[in-house]
Amino acid sequence: MTTEPYITFENVHFSRGRKRIFDGVNIAIPRGKITAIMGPSGTGKTTLLRLIGGQIKPDSGTVRVDGLDVARASSKYLLAMRRRLGMLFQNGALFTDLTAAENVAFPLREHSRLPEPMIQRMVTLKLQAVGLLEAAGQMPAALSGGMARRVALARALALDPELMLYDEPFTGQDPINVGVLLRLIASLNQALGLTSVLVSHDVTEALSIADYVVVLNQAQIVASGSPDELRAQMSGNTFLRQFLEGAPDDDQSEHGQRSARNFAVALGLVPRSDESVQSKSDRREGIQ
């Protein structure tokens, strides 16, 4: 097996309106591993998946998937690349007018000329793999959130992809479902030899199965490496420590302190003061 990265971001810049999402980002996602892309909400994690899938193009820089320059590829090559990838969307994105089994059969019917009995057999296998064979005939509206996500996972695996993209798979799931999804993602990756990219802000869950982690913040990569390497970097990186340990954002700026004081005054926690400007230390005492 080649050791070249499966996906590379080379000096990628991307903005939405005036907001800069990526500012010269370089990422190499290794082949055959689970890579977790992490960061606070709004840092462009889902945008990164859309760049990989070629749904949006970077303002500058190159995104390569298995050697293919996604932004500049012709639609023929782009479609061929997409047939080799599966994506699990945040809310499943199941087709609401099709049953669970029809959802899983959808990519097979679109891209293969297999006879119907063969398609049914494959659908059964995929639904078995996610432990939901009994839900085959149910409509998506009748499925729970966790079940819908597992059906969507079966659908994403229908064409036996080389690359799996997971967009916030654990968000809104109960602990049992999180556990089921974690086991599925890890075991599927190992059994099928996939390359997986997992976008998440659930630190504990993502770190428990990831081989490689990239942490994004304010349009830049803050840290990258194996989970152990990341933990080793924590002491020298304030943001990384705060993010990984889930510490609250303690805004020490003058503006932040003034907002906190106004909020405390409004709640009646501290007496109203006529002083328009207070020293920083005074304000802190007031809040405490």
Partner: protein, 270 residues
């Protein structure tokens, strides 16, 4: 005082700016629609490789609109029969009631009223369905599965609208003529032979029937295009879906009425 003096020019300038912004937004919307139409045109013929999808849409868009179209056609026929009888009886020409009702329906009311009802019943449903698919990332999921949503979702719905409209307009006219017969012949005593005979004698297959079919085909295409465009370009929020469905009904209705005048002038003008 100064504020009062500046009030008029300021509010005038603000109004002018708002007008300019509105014009720019309308021009951008039109431009988007032209681009979308271009993309859709490329997918219209390939969509026929999956005729089952088009048949499904004919059912969802056409068959499910039958009830409202047939009931409305019946009432319009009853009203036409009653009004026509009252007017024609002043000229002792009640034997022409049949042809009056039939021509009014086949040339004008059939295609136009059907199109207005169709925009409200089917056009809004198509827009809401596509917009909701966009909001719930179903279209995005299709794209990531290397399935073109324009070809798989949009083109079949467009064809469904184009083919449903003439069929629905034809049924509307037939039920309307039956309604006119009921009120004219059964209730008011017009000679049934005159009612049908005049229709057979005076209605022209090309000038009247074919032109009516052309009108309804054009209306179907326009409503179909507006409905799929608004759905596909809707803002993916609940407010966005609501605005898109409203725009579909308003734009479709105005387009149908405007196009009806142009087509009537071209087909039947002096």
């Amino acid at each position: 005082m100064n504020e009062r003096q500046n009030g008029f020019p300021n509010s005038f300038l603000r109004g002018l700016a708002a007008l300019g912004q509105g014009a720019m937004a309308a021009a951008a919307h039109t431009g988007q629609m032209v681009m979308f139409t271009g993309h859709l045109l490329w997918r219209l013929l390939p969509a026929w490789t999956r005729p089952r999808l088009i048949v499904q849409e004919l059912y969802a868009i056409g068959v499910l609109s039958l009830v409202i179209i047939l009931i409305s056609g019946g009432f319009v026929g009853l009203v036409l029969g009653l009004q026509g009888y009252n007017i024609l009886s002043k000229f002792n020409a009640t034997e022409s009631l049949g042809v009056m009702v039939a021509l009014s329906l086949v040339r004008e009311l059939g295609p136009v009223v059907t199109a207005l009802l169709f925009a409200g019943r089917a056009g809004s449903a198509v827009t809401a369905e596509i917009a909701l698919m966009k909001t719930t990332e179903q279209l995005s999921a299709m794209e990531m599965m290397a399935v073109d949503p324009l070809r798989r979702v949009v083109a079949p719905r467009f064809w469904g609208a184009v083919f449903s409209m003439p069929l629905l307009a034809g049924l509307f006219s037939l039920v309307g003529i039956a309604g006119g017969y009921f009120i004219g012949v059964v209730v008011l005593g017009v000679d049934p032979a005159s009612y049908w005979g005049q229709i057979q004698q005076q209605m022209q297959p090309v000038d009247d029937v074919l032109n009516g079919v052309i009108k309804s085909l054009v209306f179907g295409a326009v409503i179909g295009l507006i409905a799929v465009f608004e759905g596909f370009n809707a803002e993916p929020t609940s407010l966005g879906i609501s605005r898109a469905t409203t725009r579909t009904v308003v734009l479709s209705s105005l387009s149908v009425l405007g196009l009806d005048f142009i087509l009537t002038a071209w087909m039947f003008g002096a």
